[in-house]
């Protein structure tokens, strides 16, 4: 008999309940309430920064439209900004609802393989869409932000500060991409890598079946 088989016998005769605190109705309700709050809090934390940023953008663009409604160019740029951001806001709102309801709907009783496959697919699908949005939204946002800042706040506007405007645009763009890259790494690439390692391990086992 191997050492592990001997240990299996010991394992099976482990005391099961003496040190384990059982759940009653009150502690179950408390646990459920605590977890619901925790999941909602996590989802809010996740989307708070994005939603706050968008709210700021809408407020700024709204203010600019009202304050400079006679300037056709400023109005056009601000309206373009609104149009660019509205689909993204709708998408984020839907996603936030999905995350909250997904975490609250209950654990999966699928096999481990199916569970990991679905988790990977879902996260990968969302990440691909987010990357697309990042690429589409970030450069025009930086252009609009830089344009409005120089035209409205800096004496001489863009014409009088062409090199400074270009430098400001490049710095803003680099800062945005650095921040997005950091966020993507922590929230998507690392979890996806973890899931992929598991997927690969399972696929390797399944490939030996044939």
């Amino acid at each position: 008999m191997t050492a592990l088989e001997e240990l299996k016998k010991e394992w099976e005769t482990q005391p099961q309940g003496s040190e384990i605190e059982e759940y009653d109705l009150a502690s179950l309700k408390q646990t459920v309430k605590g977890r619901v709050q925790k999941h909602k809090k996590l989802a809010i934390q996740y989307f708070r920064t994005h939603l706050f940023l968008q709210l700021l953008v809408y407020l700024l663009l709204g203010y600019v439209i009202v304050a400079y409604w006679t300037d056709t160019m400023i109005i056009t740029v601000s309206v373009v900004g609104f149009i660019l951001y509205i689909p993204f806001t709708i998408f984020l709102y839907k996603r936030a609802r999905e995350v909250v309801s997904g975490n609250l709907k209950g654990g999966s009783a699928d096999s481990l393989y199916s569970f990991i496959e679905q988790s990977h697919y879902s996260l990968h699908h969302f990440y691909r869409f987010k990357k697309l949005i990042d690429v589409i939204l970030t450069p025009p946002s930086c252009v609009i932000g830089t344009y409005l800042t120089f035209e409205l706040l800096i004496p001489g506007g863009i014409q009088g500060n062409i090199y400074l405007t270009m430098t400001m645009f490049v710095i803003t763009l680099i800062s945005c991409y650095a921040s997005i890259r950091d966020e993507n790494r922590k929230k998507f690439e690392e979890p996806l890598q973890q899931l992929k390692e598991l997927m690969d391990e399972l696929l390797e086992i399944r490939s030996t079946e044939t």
Binding site: K8, L25, L28, R35, G106, G107, D110, Q194, L202, R206
Partner: protein, 171 residues
């Protein structure tokens, strides 16, 4: 929440609560993380209790939900670092194997838990289900791999665990 549903759930949960504790212990080496994971497992079990149709045993269904929850909760990066340190410790103490008679049962089980902690997520699930006395068929159904692959995999895991245990000072 109807009373009867809660009562049935609580009765089954308390009878099988050891499953969740063991899964937490093999997947997480930090007490706080373990407590949090246990609460999450109880919550996920409760939320999905309606989907439990009684086709399998409650314990089998509970293993599925709890293992999936543990994998979702797992913080691989930090755990990996700790596991690497743990694995190195096991190797370093190989020259200090104490007298077998001084090793008690609890220490042996703890050594086994520590050795399992160093395995990959999938291997943890397979060996835990094996230690819990599940058949190869049940393990295959929970993990989603075939019965023959469970058997092959278990041979490798046993070998790996036995090597780690031989190098453990408490074993």
């Amino acid at each position: 929440m109807s009373d009867s549903k809660e009562e049935v759930f609580l009765k089954n949960l308390n009878q099988n609560l050891g499953i969740a504790h063991k899964i937490c212990r093999v997947y997480f080496d930090d007490d706080e993380v373990r407590k949090d994971a246990l609460q999450e497992m109880v919550y996920q079990l409760w939320r999905s209790f309606d989907s439990f149709e009684g086709k399998s045993k409650f314990s089998t269904w509970m293993y599925r939900v709890c293992i999936n929850t543990a994998i979702k909760q797992r913080k691989t990066v930090s755990n990996k670092k700790k596991m690497e340190v743990l694995s190195q410790d096991h190797v370093q103490v190989s020259a200090q194997i104490p007298d077998q008679s001084s090793v008690n049962r609890e220490e042996k089980i703890n050594a086994l838990y520590n050795a399992i902690l160093t395995l990959s997520s999938l291997n943890k699930a397979i060996v835990l289900l094996y230690l819990e006395g599940m058949t190869y068929e049940e393990i295959a159904s929970i993990t989603g791999i075939t019965k023959s692959n469970v058997s092959v995999r278990l041979v490798r895991i046993k070998r790996e665990l036995e090597t780690k245990l031989k190098n453990d000072k408490n074993f």
